[in-house]
């Protein structure tokens, strides 16, 4: 156990890609926590998807030992956090477990939307903030300008900002010294009853549920019987340890320390992040404030392409849900797609990550139906229904009005792209709330319907600003609007999986865009196929996919029937990646792609 004065706990926060995980690498390496030969880039991004996409999805905790220039030995607990807006929840709860934040800002880019969002969260959590200007090895680095920007836009003192290259290791020693000097030591009472914060939990196939805890008061030991304050459940602690970043078992955790416990807990759902853990006997009765649970905001249906794989899909979803409390699911049946699940996600990236994992780790091909947000339907009889799936839209004669979720979006953009951003927001039914400047960058705040943002807003924003804009959002509430259900008919049959809710004024544009997209996405068939968008039986847009004109192999290689057979088998397998609606095969990717607007 370490005395409080020699502990420093902090999170590393930044806008996406500003170098948090790389900085964590250097801190781990400089302090000798991991041997050089075991080092690899973004060591903490261990999941395949994280490595492939080069982003952090899950926050990671590491304990490092550092002997400072003053000769004293310190224990530092760092939490590397994700930058993408979908995972903002990971950042906020990580912050609750520590006293300070390293605010990393890419000195070639400057302050971005998640930089701001993270600062506000850090301030909310009463953090001491140490600004770090990263990527100074790059020629485009401009520390003075970025420091000034931090002072102007965020209003914190950046004169002491540390100039770092997480790539070359320059400035890492100064960062470690600043952590020791400027961040406060945690407080706590070793002799008080145990009070620990349940920061996170996940499922490990060998050890069962692993619980990440931050000890506020008291001491946690192996063999202790602990109680969860939220529900009174009692567990026997069979293992205690810390991450370095591999798990290392230790005997006890004292105040101010961060580590893990295992206690034969079967399901992640039996643990609640933000819960207070204490001893069964002589425990505290004072609960910590707790966290707001993460709420899924985007919903879609996941169906196996091959309906025989439904049970495999159930298994995969249950396993993934064990690890991810922010992902919700319930069974769904569809006339055309058979059995599947209606799933809720924190955003589209979260959706894509889960879908990718199911497809890759469990080898199940999926059809993802059109994503939707939750609408509130107010019925004539005064009741309210939450609509997660446009296919479930009740008969309009019983409906009084509809409300849709709105968000507050903050966008930072160099002023030469401001016009494009305003146009985009306006096109998406946005209402401008604020527009300010900091140097040559504009900060715009918009009130937007979540529905207009979830699918492709971020992609569009990046493309109209050549990647120079950044974006963050928070849910604000619900508001009534003129919303209708738009159906898509393929070869004159409605395809429920493509139904969406749209604003009446935008229905024609949306409908036209969707049928045009689908015309490109659906392969040609032996007959021509009308593709229509309709509202309540009235067609508002129509395209015709012409019949396949030529698909014949001109020449067979000698008597090589094998090759031809394999080729056709491959094509047949391709056909299996589609689902049949009436006589028409629709490819699995069509359902999401059809919704992505180009304009």
């Amino acid at each position: 156990m370490t005395d409080l004065a020699h502990i420093r706990n902090f999170s590393i926060v930044a806008h996406i890609d500003h170098g948090k995980s790389t900085l964590a690498d250097r801190l781990i390496q400089e302090t000798g926590t991991v041997q050089d030969r075991d080092m690899k880039e973004q060591l903490l991004d261990a999941m395949d998807i994280e490595r492939e996409r080069g982003i952090t999805i899950k926050a990671n905790t590491v304990r490092i030992d550092y002997t400072a220039d003053n000769g004293e030995a310190y224990v530092l607990n760092l939490i590397d956090t994700p930058g993408h807006v979908d995972f903002a929840y990971e950042v906020s709860r990580s912050m609750r477990a520590v006293e300070g934040s390293l605010l990393v800002v890419d000195s070639t880019q400057g302050v971005e939307a998640q930089t701001l969002a993270n600062v506000y969260q850090a301030i909310d959590a009463d953090h001491e903030i140490v600004p770090v200007l990263n990527k100074i090895d790059l020629p485009a680095s401009d520390c003075d300008r970025v420091a000034e920007q931090i002072e102007d836009v965020i209003g914190i003192d950046a004169s002491g900002a540390i100039r770092v290259s997480a790539k070359t290791g320059q400035g890492i020693h100064e960062t470690l010294e600043a952590i020791v000097e400027h961040l406060p030591a945690p407080q706590g009472d070793r002799d008080a009853p145990l009070k620990a914060m349940l920061v996170d939990s996940w499922y490990d196939s060998y050890l069962g549920v692993i619980v990440l805890v931050r000890i506020m008061d008291g001491v946690l030991k192996k063999g202790d019987r602990i109680k969860m304050l939220s529900n009174g459940s009692v567990h026997h602690v069979d293992r205690i340890g810390v991450f370095r970043p591999a798990m290392q078992v230790i005997d006890e955790l004292g105040p101010g320390e961060i580590g893990f416990l295992t206690a034969s807990i079967k399901q992640v759902r039996d643990t609640r992040v933000g819960d207070t853990i204490t001893h069964e006997k002589k425990g505290t009765t004072q609960a910590l404030p707790g966290f707001k649970p993460a709420q899924p905001v985007v919903f879609c249906g996941l169906f196996p392409v091959d309906s025989a794989e439904f049970e495999d899909l159930r298994d995969a979803i249950e396993k993934l849900a064990l690890n991810d409390a922010s992902f919700s699911y319930e069974m769904e049946t569809s006339a055309a797609l058979g059995f599947g699940f209606r799933c809720g996600f924190l955003g589209l990236l979260h959706l894509e990550v889960i879908r990718d994992r199911i497809e890759r780790e469990y080898d199940i091909d999926l059809i993802t139906t059109a994503p939707s947000v939750i609408y509130h339907i107010y019925m004539r009889d005064g009741s309210m229904i939450e609509l997660h799936n446009p296919a479930d839209m009740p008969d309009l004669t019983h409906v009084d009005h509809l409300e849709e979720p709105r968000i507050k979006a903050t966008i930072l953009v160099p002023d030469e792209y401001l016009g494009d951003v305003l146009k985009l927001c306006q096109d998406r039914r946005g209402i401008q709330m604020d527009l300010t400047y900091a140097g040559s960058r504009a900060m715009v705040v918009y009130d937007l319907p979540l529905n207009e943002v979830v699918f492709d807003f971020y992609d569009r924003l990046k493309s109209v600003t050549k990647g120079y804009a950044s974006f963050d959002y928070q849910m604000t509430g619900y508001r009534q609007d003129n919303l209708v259900k738009m159906q898509i008919l393929v070869n004159d049959e409605p395809v429920d999986a493509l139904s969406t809710m749209v604003h009446r004024d935008r229905a024609e544009t949306r409908g036209r865009a969707m049928v045009e997209k689908l015309k490109d996405l659906i392969p040609r068939h032996m007959f021509k196929i009308p593709i229509q968008a309709a509202i309540g039986g009235k067609v508002i847009a129509r395209e015709t996919l012409s019949a396949l004109r030529k698909d014949v192999t001109a020449k067979c290689y000698g008597g090589d029937a094998t090759r031809k057979r394999k080729l056709l088998e491959k094509q047949k397998a391709g056909k299996k990646k589609m689902r049949q609606f009436g006589k028409v095969d629709i490819p699995q990717e069509a359902f999401i792609s059809a919704l992505k607007m180009d304009g």
Binding site: M526, R549, Y557, G558, D560, R565
Partner: protein, 386 residues
């Protein structure tokens, strides 16, 4: 089982001999062909004979309907090499009275000088790769002969052989349907009784394939034009008395290539030479055979037996019969498919295709209609899908 064992008889029995060398590699070609300076033809003769002996031992007493020298460029073979192979085949199998012995020839001057030699060796049919009737396009296709050289070679071949066919490749870069119609009519004025007309296919792993992927090779006809060219080809050839009997092959009735009919009617064929494929029924079971692709590996393997033999399941055989048979204008024998597969063609799929006008039936046969033939792969996919 006895019925099945004899299934191949509906297609006949042939021998395919692969010669894997060419003078130059054409950029569109993904056949097993290589350019090599040193070829010891005696070594090749020895290897072919060993392989023929082995195959004949397994198929004793069979009557051979056809021999086909394919390539590569078999016209680069020495006539003595060709003679030795034909003699070995004749020694081991019984030749049908009307046996067809075809050799693929490139239309260069080198080849033209050898035609009498090939005839004396026993060849009675030549298939010539003329490919285009305009010099600019021939160069684009990487061909090393001109139109006039090709026509000269063709004239010489006609003098030596009763049966001479030639190949053209159409739907070439910048070729319009109108240009192709004119070229085809010109071709028909030279043709005797058989023509092979292939739409240019961009194959992976060829120079054209690489260029195409890299965004090059512009000006290939769009799908509608390609479809139009295909339909025009059918129409013009039929009007000229050479209707299509297979997707890309046209002949006067009776002048069809017997060898290719063996493939499409799903008969048995022995394949020897590098990368050659075969289908043989042994002891009541049908096998697929395949030889090592690289010429040197094949030569080495031929000492002890080069072909790798894999049994074909009933389903695979039925699929192959369907895929091959549907390429023919005569289509497939519904009863034969049923006997082979153990189940009938799915009636709802057949009805669906009949409704669309893609196929037609005479009661005992199912075949692609004029409308269906350009989208034959889609028809086959539909019939095969489970």
């Amino acid at each position: 089982m006895a019925v099945l064992a004899e299934d191949w008889r509906d297609g006949g029995f042939g021998l395919y001999v692969h010669w894997p060398f060419c003078q130059a590699k054409c950029p569109y070609c993904d056949f097993n062909s290589h350019v090599s300076r040193e070829i010891d033809q005696n070594t090749w003769v020895r290897a072919y004979i060993l392989e023929i002996e082995r195959a004949a031992n397994q198929t004793p007493g069979r009557v051979l309907n056809s021999v086909f020298f394919g390539g590569g460029t078999p016209s680069l073979m020495h006539p003595d090499t060709v003679a030795a192979v034909i003699d070995a085949a004749k020694k081991h199998w019984q030749f049908a009275n009307d046996i067809e012995i075809t050799l693929e020839a490139n239309p260069g001057s080198v080849e033209a000088g050898k035609f009498t030699g090939f005839r004396d060796a026993g060849v009675n049919r030549v298939s010539m790769g003329i490919q285009a009737l305009n010099d600019v396009d021939l160069r684009r296709l990487g061909r090393i002969h001109s139109v006039s050289e090709a026509l000269d070679a063709f004239a010489i071949a006609r003098n030596c052989f009763d049966r001479v066919s030639f190949d053209l490749i159409y739907a070439r870069q910048n070729q319009t349907p109108g240009e192709w119609r004119a070229e085809l009519k010109q071709a028909l004025s030279y043709a005797i009784d058989h023509l092979s007309l292939y739409q240019l296919t961009i194959e992976d792993g060829t120079a054209f394939g690489d260029r195409y992927r890299a965004g090059g090779l512009r000006g290939l006809p769009v799908e509608d034009d390609a479809a139009q060219m295909y339909l025009d080809t059918q129409e013009i050839c039929a009007a000229h008395g050479l209707p299509a009997y297979e997707v890309s092959n046209h002949a006067m009735p009776g002048a069809e290539s017997r060898h290719n009919l063996i493939y499409w009617r799903y008969g048995d064929y022995v394949g020897i030479g590098p990368g050659a494929h075969g289908r043989v029924t042994l002891g009541g079971k049908r096998f697929a055979t395949e030889s090592p692709k690289a010429p040197n590996n094949w030569i080495a393997a031929a000492e002890t037996g080069a072909t790798r033999t894999t049994p074909l399941t009933i389903t695979e055989q039925a699929q192959e019969y369907l895929m091959m048979g549907m390429r023919l204008s005569e289509g497939l024998d519904i009863g034969r498919f049923c006997r082979l597969a153990g189940y009938a063609l799915p009636p709802q799929k057949v009805d669906y295709l009949l409704d669309l006008g893609m196929v037609d039936t005479t009661g005992t046969r199912l075949f692609a209609t004029e409308q269906g033939r350009p989208v034959l792969n889609a028809i086959i996919r539909e019939l095969l899908a489970d």
